[in-house]
């Protein structure tokens, strides 16, 4: 029997970690993630988990200690946000390059300067090329479900790669939402026993981790990492299918909302998808064929499937909650890359919204959909990339 509760996103993910009972968690406080590891620390203090906590002196050391514990043979997790993720940047590549299945919820927050503690996606987008798998979550339920599935994906013997689970800082991390928790035993059975691969603590079979590899083999090493990443899509779907059996909740590479017969659509990550869906319903009521695509698996990006889901549209707006200054938004680049392989493709524009916690309001979605109606009619785009919701 599922337990239905009202909890914050941070609380939901902490609960998932309690149910999974990792061997080691190394963490460092940062807003808006702090609450997550705080709650988990109470589980440790109250003996509800067997986890060893390493309360380090920086996020760089948090990820370094996770790398050590994971290589030692443990099931390992941490969590962070923003500057913390940026400080880990060097170690993210090393965790992935060493094929260590570390799990890390990222409670998305803007990057300084100026200093800001509120939501945008700049932090996780900075980790885009690090080799970590990325799962994005619209609400607390998805963050909880993704966290549980992340362990199975990361630890799959065809994968052995680290996973980031994103949820919006404050908007999801701190707000109370309805959630259905699985039973402890269901989660335990689902994630299963951790299988260590080449653990350092296997003292009788010594392994060296972290060699120097020069031009004679480095390229091949990276190609191998690329090839492993190509297995991820298959495993994500297999794990989702199994998860549906215990939860009744269906997951894939993305959420396609009223997209099948749509002519215009919004592509958007995380919590703002919820607001957008409401507005799409209103447009549908007016007889306008609007839809939405919300990516869940951002790394590796499911290019073919996204292209297939969007190919019949006339106009698309990709909304990015982060900017690549001097370039288009990162999600726009992915969707454009997916579409460019098609013979004929929809018109596509890019809006930058919600930086540093600026609210994404229904009128922003309305404004975007109205523009898409116009583009679909005239087949003309006036501005490809534009900021919306700006105070002038």
């Amino acid at each position: 029997m599922a337990r239905v509760l009202a909890v914050s996103g941070n609380e939901a993910v902490a609960e998932a970690l309690r149910q999974i009972n990792p061997d080691v968690c190394a963490a460092y406080p940062i807003t808006p993630q702090t609450e997550l590891m705080q709650r988990f620390s109470s589980f440790v203090s109250d003996g509800k988990v067997d986890t060893e906590l390493i309360l380090v002196e920086s996020e760089h050391s948090a990820m370094s200690a996770c790398i050590g514990a994971s290589a030692a043979g443990g099931r390992v997790a941490t969590a962070t946000s923003s500057q913390g993720l940026a400080l880990m940047w060097e170690m993210l590549y090393i965790a992935a390059g060493l094929r260590l299945p570390i799990i890390m919820p990222v409670v998305n927050r803007a990057l300084s300067a100026p200093l800001n503690i509120h939501c945008d996606h700049t932090d996780a987008m900075g980790a885009r090329d690090s080799g970590w798998i990325q799962l994005w979550s619209e609400n607390a339920q998805e963050a909880y479900d993704n966290t549980i599935q992340a362990f199975r994906i990361a630890e799959h013997m065809d994968i052995r790669l680290p996973v980031i689970i994103c949820m919006d800082g404050f908007i999801i991390g701190h707000s109370i939402q309805r959630i259905e928790y699985l039973e402890d035993s269901e989660v335990k059975n689902f994630v299963g026993e951790y299988k260590a691969l080449n653990p350092i603590l296997d003292i009788d079979n010594p392994k060296s981790y972290g060699p120097l590899i020069l031009p004679d083999l480095f390229h091949e090493y990276k190609r191998a990492q690329h090839e492993v990443t190509t297995n991820v899509k298959r495993v994500v779907l297999e794990v989702a299918e199994e998860f549906e059996k215990i939860s009744g909740r269906k997951y894939g590479f993305f959420d396609a909302y009223r997209l099948e017969d749509a002519e215009i659509a919004i592509v958007i990550l995380n919590s703002a998808a919820g607001t957008s869906k409401d507005v799409i319903d209103e447009f549908r009521d007016r007889g306008i064929k609007a839809g939405l695509l919300k990516p869940r698996l951002f790394r590796p990006f499911p290019y073919e499937e996204v292209a297939d889901a969007l190919k019949h549209l006339r106009a698309i707006c990709v909304l990015d909650r982060s900017d690549s200054f001097g370039g288009y938004g990162p999600l726009f680049l992915e969707v454009s890359s997916a579409l460019c392989q098609l013979e004929s493709r929809p018109k596509i524009i890019n809006k930058i919204y919600g930086l540093g916690g600026r609210d994404y309001l229904p009128q922003h979605a309305e404004q975007v959909l109205e523009e898409l109606i116009e583009i679909a009619k005239t087949e003309k785009i006036s501005i490809i990339k534009e900021y919306i919701g700006v105070r002038e």
Binding site: S64, A71, P211, L214
Partner: protein, 310 residues
């Protein structure tokens, strides 16, 4: 079973750091790694920071380590091994490992005094059961002899070259051994490969104590010190006999000088054979040698005072 710290016994022990590593000939680091591992009578797991030892000991599919070993990055060996040690403690608690395993980090002075100081300080404060060994060669030798905070006053390096206006490094060394002792960890020591028995006894003692232990071991680098390739032991001995590198330990707050030279030699005896100090012997730089001598005397007297108070 503990092997006696006698050369005949030790020579029969297996080297856990093998021949065929790619360190420069005459380097002090592999000598001290072998000594530390020879003195270790337990299963042992090692960690290295990025640096000379790391890039020369594990390349592609070749490794010189006959024990489990991990390198992740430059500034985080203490944090990395603290993760391994934590996992070990959990396995032990759950009864999944019964063996007593020791954890040792081997890192250069750049990775310890400078970029790795924060992670070392954090690991020391958290109390991980490990021995952190700094092989101090007094500069970033792996990247080509750049100054570090372990570089002595006046030394010529590629980033503080002895020029016509500035005669080498203008700052004194950071006293890292004291900084580590000030953390209040149970054991801190300074050792030298010239005094192998003293070094190995310190390793034995470190392993017998629970908690974080730190050893700073002088590691001559003929490339950076501009010295003969076969002078590593000689220079180490001169460093000890001039009291430039005093041998001492701080055990639970109690300082003990472990070796007093019969006759304390002048600092010039240590400086003379090294090209990095060559420019100090021009008349205009005499003040640097004077200052180095004063600093050595001051620290040595302080250590003797602290040692005699016990």
């Amino acid at each position: 079973m503990a092997v006696d710290l006698r050369l005949r016994e030790l020579s029969r022990k297996e080297d856990l750091f093998t021949h065929g590593h790619r360190m420069c000939s005459g380097c002090g680091a592999p000598i001290l790694v072998k000594m530390v591992l020879l003195a270790t009578d337990y299963p042992v797991i090692a960690c290295s920071a990025t640096g000379c030892l790391e890039v020369s000991s594990c390349i592609s599919t070749y490794t010189a380590w006959k024990i489990p070993w991990i390198h992740s990055a430059f500034e985080n060996a203490a944090a990395t091994i603290s993760g391994v040690e934590t996992m070990y403690r959990l396995y032990k608690k759950k009864g999944m490992i019964n063996k007593e395993i020791k954890f040792v980090a081997f890192c250069g002075d750049g990775g310890t005094y400078d970029i790795g100081l924060q992670s070392l300080s954090g690991a020391a404060e958290r109390g991980h059961d490990m021995l952190y060994v700094c092989y101090d060669n007094g500069a970033y030798m792996n990247t080509g002899i750049q100054r570090s905070s372990a570089t002595p006053l006046g030394a010529n390096t590629t980033t503080c070259p002895a020029g016509s206006v500035i005669p080498g490094k203008q700052q004194e060394r950071k006293n890292l051994t004291r900084i580590m002792a000030a953390h209040g960890i149970p054991y801190t020591a300074q050792a030298s490969i010239s005094n192998w028995l003293d070094l190995m006894k310190k390793v034995r003692k470190a392993h017998s104590i629970k908690g974080p232990k730190f050893m700073n071991i002088l590691s001559p680098c003929n490339r950076g010190w501009r010295s003969r390739t076969d002078d590593a032991i000689l220079l180490s001995r001169l460093a000890v006999d001039t009291c430039y590198w005093p041998l001492y330990e701080v055990e639970n707050g109690i300082t003990r000088v472990t070796f007093k030279p019969k006759e304390k030699k002048p600092i010039v005896d240590f400086l003379k054979p090294q090209g990095r100090f060559g420019h100090l012997f021009s008349p205009e730089n005499e003040w640097i040698i004077k200052k180095l001598q004063e600093d050595v005397d001051k620290e040595w007297e302080r250590l003797l005072r602290e040692s005699s108070q016990q």
